[in-house]
Amino acid sequence: MDHLRDSVPSTISDLFRKKLQMGFGCWSSLLLALPTALTSFPRFSADRLTHDLSWSIRPLKFHDSRILNEENSMKAGYKFVALASVLLALAFGLLHSRSSVSAASAGQVTGTVKLDGIAPHQRGIDMSKDPSCAAAHKDKPVTTENVVTGANGGLANVVVYVSQGLTGNEAPLSQPVQLEQKGCQYFPHVVAVDVGQHMKILNDDQALHNIHPQATKNAAWNKSQMPGGPPLDVTWASEEVPVPVKCNVHPWMQAYIVVVKGPYGVSDDSGSFQLDNLPPGNYTLTAWQETYGTQTQNVTVAAGKPTAVNFTFKAK
């Protein structure tokens, strides 16, 4: 019963506390709105990514809508930044009012992803175009990573996330995720990120890379990072599965950023994954793999103890 305590006020004081928090939430939202609107003005924004958030809503019906959208995206951008930041701030405020699940009452989902069948052949990558890249892999040849399997058929790089059942009010995960460019490859090959969660992009190579996510729901951007250049700090405005990332200077480089809402897990080489901090309740879990697409399962998460869920992808 105690997982209900949050939703149903048991005492008058409890109810009062909630109202207070609600009110505080709304006020804080308004307070947040103004500065956000000002600081993310495209013309003066130091970081183009914050600006690009303002382009993140773009209807892609006709092939020219991109262009039409560009056409007025300047002023639209300004208006939208204000609007978006108000909404964002409202969301933050509400989150503030609804306290997120405490560790005690949090549920957990663990499991493994397996590949049924033989993994397709992974082609070798020839990096001779850029000697500095090739030098990093003298000893062992590099291959593509579209399907990576580990011990007893475990399938790696599968993102498992909650596609239904969340209230949508959860606060974004606080600790940033990391996408690293090393030896002219992306580490990790698949990286999942919560909406609003910060993402650091680093370049450990002696070569220049340009990071070019081809987002459709989020803003598509393209920015190059010099050897030893400062890390980029990125956030994503809306859910998108997946956002393919390319480096045009090294066309073989490929990563996928999976932007989801709420908890997520990414399977390791043995195929095992884990979703933490999930409030008890009924959910639909979705597993996404770059080659085999998505699978879904319904689960009921109970407080305290982990719930086991397994996915199996059939090899084509």
């Binding site: 082609r123 020839d126 175009k129 070569a207 045009n248 090294h250 066309p251």
Partner: protein, 268 residues
């Protein structure tokens, strides 16, 4: 005084430039193609003819500013004997002749590259240029190139040409590589495709430079006469990675070439 100074400066500059050219301070790399010598000869002939005009022009300028620079304005003016007629005649005749020579010889050199049909027995290789790398395709044992499907191009999965190996039998054995290898002393026919922007295929040692034009397939053919490893660079502005868009071309002896192809086939 300034007239004499100017004359001296101009002479020094002229001699310095002449030295740099004659002493090959900056010069063309070794030539490894059959048609290359024509182009080199053309360049050298032009350097000779134009160089003479250049030196003559600068020296005349220097001489006049030396001689007529510093009079005190007392001397009576002289004007050039015969006025402009000799100048015009000189320009028309001398430059005219130079132009005729250059066009005739030049058209031969140009023709040797572009007006000759490719040898039917040439090694055929497909080139795909894109932001910002070159990729090459060998037809494989069946000697046939499979059709291209732009919508299938996916560099992440190493499908740089958009081949459909599941459905096109010809594509199955096509060998796609990131380096270009060609057999020495055998005519080679490249067909240039560009998947996105304008690019250019430039190998200095081969004296070959040809733009890729998206939407058009451009054939170029040449024969390399020396083995070695050389650089292919992009010389047509194609975006932020332009400066780093390159690949290597290996000119190999026939057996080495065959082995190399086998290796590459294995790597597919």
């Amino acid at each position: 005084m300034p007239g004499k100074v100017f004359a001296v400066v101009v002479v020094i500059v002229t001699l310095a430039i002449a030295y740099c050219v004659i002493a090959h301070v900056w010069w063309m790399p070794v030539d490894i193609s059959v048609h290359g010598p024509n182009i080199d000869r053309q360049i050298e002939e032009t350097l000779f003819g134009a160089g003479i005009l250049f030196i003559a022009g600068q020296l005349v300028l220097a001489a006049f500013s030396f001689l007529y620079g510093d009079s005190k304005g007392t001397r009576k003016m002289k004007s050039f004997p015969g006025g402009a007629k000799p100048l015009i005649i000189f320009a028309c005749v001398v430059v005219g002749i130079e132009i005729l020579v250059l066009s005739f010889v030049g058209s031969k050199a140009w023709g040797s590259v572009y007006f000759t049909p490719p040898d039917p027995s040439s090694v055929r290789i497909d080139v795909q240029a894109g932001q910002f790398a070159f990729y090459f395709r060998y037809p494989g044992p069946d000697g046939k190139f499979g059709p291209l499907h732009p919508e299938l191009i996916s560099e992440g999965t190493q499908n740089f040409f958009g081949l459909d190996t599941d459905h096109d039998p010809d594509s199955k054995d096509d060998i796609v590589t990131a380096q270009l290898a060609i057999p020495v002393n055998k005519p080679v026919l490249l067909t240039l495709h560009s998947k996105d922007m304008g690019h250019s295929f430039d190998v200095r040692e081969l004296r070959v430079q040809q733009d890729f034009v998206p939407g058009i397939v451009i054939p170029i053919h040449f024969t390399a006469t020396q083995t070695g490893r050389f650089e292919i660079v992009c010389t047509q502005l194609c975006g932020l990675g332009h400066y780093n868009m390159k690949a290597y071309i290996q000119v190999l002896s026939q057996p080495d070439y065959d082995n190399w192809l086998k290796q590459q086939a294995a790597m597919q």
